[in-house]
Symmetry: C2
């Protein structure tokens, strides 16, 4: 009997991969840098290398693997294996599945990386006991995935979950001027750019040195600033948390989730500070009692989430008799 | 073999009911006024009267009826048969199913009236060939229902679709001051109240007489004003249509529907004027290509939609072995 699923999370900077058994144990894992310089061919070659390494290092055979799931940062067709658009990988309308399967004779599925993360969280952190769940990742950008009626909701053309691009105030049409989207307000990129602006305007902050030296402010720096009690950083995280809570309240009003999970670099770094504010705004913002029974939590499994999510995609695909 | 489903759409002012066969033919229909003066008992009595009338007038037997579906304007549990809250009927936490089944020995299901309308539209107007559909009714209030993955999405506590209560600008929390919700801006009630205000401020309109005489401005009057080319009414409908289009664009960004259907009194009255504006704003407002393939149309079946929707609920319930 085949025992393992293999998931390869293809990021813009690194490829994380793992062999996982049916009890959510990671048997073997690997992490290598992504090379996009050599184009699609190079990426396929690296993926095949990863597959072969995992099998060799875990000392298992190809015949022990149920299937492979590829996590892709972009829009994909999970079953046909086409990457429609993955800007970070510079891939467009590329059937990566058929390329890999020229060399690797195993069932292979694609999934959007955010969806894959949500499936992993559902499996590992909730033992699949959630029906309607929103998973939202706050990082350099904002991504989300929807579990509805117990399984992934992909939308009619695999676009569902583009929460970061929701317009904050719909009294005006989206335009170049009115580009005040959720991501443009609450992502790390947006918060950091407001912090930098304030520092340049003369406001005090422990992050001043970063600005003076032109160093990038990443999640770790934000975490340290919060820990140091930095007023400026806390103010801006407070604003962002409020809007996140309000957004979740609006979505709750529409979709009546049982569970909302937050993750991503910003939440990992500053969740202790942000989560209570997010919860408070959420509570004020959902309509009537629509969110009264909703669990709202942060995820604890970080980058490993997609590695577990692959199990779900592979078994769904196999049950549909797709290879 | 049982041939018919019976649906009773319990409105705040009227009870519409019909016997429908498997080919969507209405065999017999009835319309009576709702009496809420006699409380729950009176409503149950009227429902039982309706059931008996339909069967008698259609000259069929109880044994020919697969089941009954009750459309309720409020929050219900479709299978347990409990009305949690239906303000227009003044019913709360009432197990109407068990009361009716004391007298009528047939499988009985409840469904929210908006959900029922959406199921009817899906069945009759799309021959069930929609996967992910938003149905939105613009009338005195605004209601919506979601068909996701081919079937009704009810949410975790049967609250899904409260689109009217979404806050328009989420940069602020919902509060008594910030109660600028979708319904408070784009419902007939809201549009009419802005029109009245403008007329009272001296702006010319064919509806001036209504305001002077204190007559209610209903959808028909709005339709006539649009037809007469009334500038004021058209301006306010334009504003409302824009915001409706923007809202649909935002929801499309999240849920990537294949189909969006608009209905309700305002659309029935002024759809010819409003739909092109709604479509234009929608097109500007969804993210990237997420709405490129989405059909956006108005429904043609009006009040009959719920009567057809009952077929779906009854057959779903029976297939789940619920009675």
């Amino acid at each position: 009997m085949k025992k393992f699923t293999m998931t390869i999370d293809l990021g813009g900077t690194k490829i994380l991969s793992a062999l996982v058994d049916d009890e959510n144990n990671i048997i073997m894992r690997e992490k290598v840098a992504t090379n996009i310089e050599n184009g699609a061919e190079g990426i396929v070659k690296d993926i095949i290398g990863t597959i072969e390494n995992l099998i060799k290092n875990a000392d298992v055979g190809m015949q022990d693997i149920k299937g492979i799931c590829l996590g892709v940062p972009g829009i994909i067709n999970p079953f046909e294996g086409i990457i429609y658009n993955a800007p970070n990988l510079q891939l467009k309308n590329y059937n990566i599945k058929s390329e890999i399967q020229k060399v690797i004779d195993l069932p292979l599925f694609l999934e959007n990386d955010v969806n894959l993360g949500a499936l992993g969280i559902k499996r590992v952190e909730f033992n699949n006991k959630v029906n309607n769940m929103l998973v939202i990742f706050i990082g350099t950008g904002i991504g989300a995935a929807l579990i509805l009626k117990g399984s992934l909701y992909r939308g009619s053309s695999f676009f569902a979950g583009e929460i970061g691009h929701i317009v904050l105030n719909i009294q005006k049409e989206r335009s170049k001027k009115n580009n005040s989207t959720f991501e443009n307000f609450a992502s790390r990129t947006a918060v950091v750019s407001r912090i930098i602006e304030a520092i340049q305007d003369g406001e005090p902050s422990v992050l001043k040195e970063y600005v003076v030296k032109g160093r990038k402010i990443k999640s770790r720096a934000i975490a340290e600033a919060v820990e140091a009690g930095d007023k400026l950083v806390k103010e801006h995280l407070y604003d962002s948390s409020r809007v996140i809570g309000n957004m979740l309240g609006n979505l709750q009003t529409l979709l009546n989730f049982d569970t909302i999970v937050l993750g991503g670099g910003v939440i990992e770094a500053a969740g202790d500070f942000m989560m209570p504010i997010i919860k408070k705004s959420f509570k004020k913002s959902y309509f009537d009692v629509t969110g009264e029974q909703t669990k709202i939590v942060s995820t604890k499994i970080g980058d490993d989430a997609p590695l577990f999510g692959g199990w779900e995609v592979i078994n769904e695909g196999l049950s549909l008799n797709i290879k």
